[in-house]
């Protein structure tokens, strides 16, 4: 198999150009899908049998919840790639994703909390899924804290990479926590095939999932460009790009 395309991504100027070209596409698609999904979820979909309209927060909560786990995993994978193949761009991608992941996790906790009030009568309960999501936030903080505390950038890259990889163990625990422990949080709803929800509720949800992933891609590419410029500020290609 020809791996040139993979190694091309290892080049900072190439990645910068790639990010510059593709950001508007990802961003535009994300916006479009988000509008579509929100319209479908907030306007078109029928009210829930039990929760009436309160359930509609699922159209934001579920996508950001998945995204918080996905970003951490992506971060760990990027860090591992950086460590194994010694690609600076991979380390830059991991560094760029961390703050996004942290904010998305905060969004998960906030939207979940807002949903919790009408559902369970409380803004916060100490149940396994919520608690482990909170600890995911702490993992993000730890990652960013470690990066900030180490002066040498190469050492910071490698140390935070090891931390990210070790922390990935937490991700399956969060995902399956609702199955393992008695929890107030509802278990995963089957969306396709023998679905638990009607199609008119499902398609906006799937659209929102996709929209948020594209949103992450767009924001990541923007941050990645800034990160690459910062890391390679002495290089000639940076001077060319900025002039």
């Amino acid at each position: 198999m020809n791996w040139t395309w993979f190694h091309r991504f290892g080049s900072a100027p190439y990645m910068y150009g790639f990010a510059q070209r593709w950001t508007p596409w990802f961003g535009g698609a994300a916006l479009l899908l988000m509008l579509l999904g929100l319209y479908g979820g907030l306007v078109l979909a029928p009210p829930d049998y039990q929760q009436k309209d309160a359930y509609r927060i699922i159209y934001v909560h579920a996508p950001v919840a998945s995204l918080s786990l996905m970003i951490y995993t992506a971060m760990a994978v990027a860090a591992a790639v950086g460590l194994i193949w010694r690609m600076k761009v991979a380390h830059a991608a991991a560094a760029a994703s961390a703050p996004i992941g942290a904010w998305i996790t905060v969004a998960t906790l906030v939207t979940g909390s807002l949903w919790g009030k009408p559902m369970w009568g409380a803004y916060w309960v100490w149940d396994p899924r919520l608690t482990s999501e909170l600890f995911l936030l702490f993992l993000y903080f730890g990652y960013m804290g470690l990066r900030a505390a180490i002066e040498d950038p190469q050492k910071a890259d490698k140390a935070s990479a090891v931390l990210a990889i070790v922390g990935v163990v937490n991700v399956p625990i969060i995902k399956y926590s609702v199955n393992w422990w008695n929890s107030l949080h509802q278990p995963a709803t089957r969306l396709l095939g023998k679905a638990d929800m009607v199609w008119s509720m499902v398609w906006p949800l799937l659209t929102m999932f996709l929209a948020f992933m594209l949103f992450f891609a767009a924001v990541l590419l923007i941050r990645l460009r800034a990160e690459l410029l910062r890391r390679e500020r002495g290089a000639s290609w940076v001077r060319e790009v900025l002039s």
Partner: protein, 195 residues
Amino acid sequence: MFFMIVATLFPLTLTPELSRLRDAAPGVLWIGALLSSLLALEFLFRDDAVDGTLEQFALSGQSLTWMLFAKTCTHWLLTGLPLALSAPLAALALGVPVAALGSMIAALALGSFALSLVGAICAGLTLGARRGGVLLSLLTLPLSVPILVFGSDATRHAIAGTEIAGPMYMLGAIAVLGVTLAPLAAAAAVRIGLE
């Protein structure tokens, strides 16, 4: 010592009612154990890093993984194990029934061992970092959550007199996972930390 003080602070600050203390006991004991471990973890590698001995370990041509495993075990024998063995004093003060003490010691011993293993990784990563002690706690806490959850669960069951096998097995599984993987990660962490 620290563990003892923490454990006795709880009855002072919460309530002298023994039945309520008993409910809180698993949490108090395990959080106390965690905090004591975090304090002790700072010293796992610090002296050796400062005087250059850790570097010589990395340069010895022998497996750094095994050496760090040996160091972690020794560290646990001097910090975690005494903590587990002295826990009965604190536990009795919190109203834990005598019948539960044996399994409590076992759970604390196993849990503190797993904590030392995981903490070794974070200790290696924070070598030479700014605010190393605080950072070490921040990094170790999220990773130690599974140990805390199952450990306190085991102690809670022991106090209630119900079956403790479930959480104890999970704790054991975590410890085994830790023994096989953590020293490798710790060796990688230390090599990076020494740069």
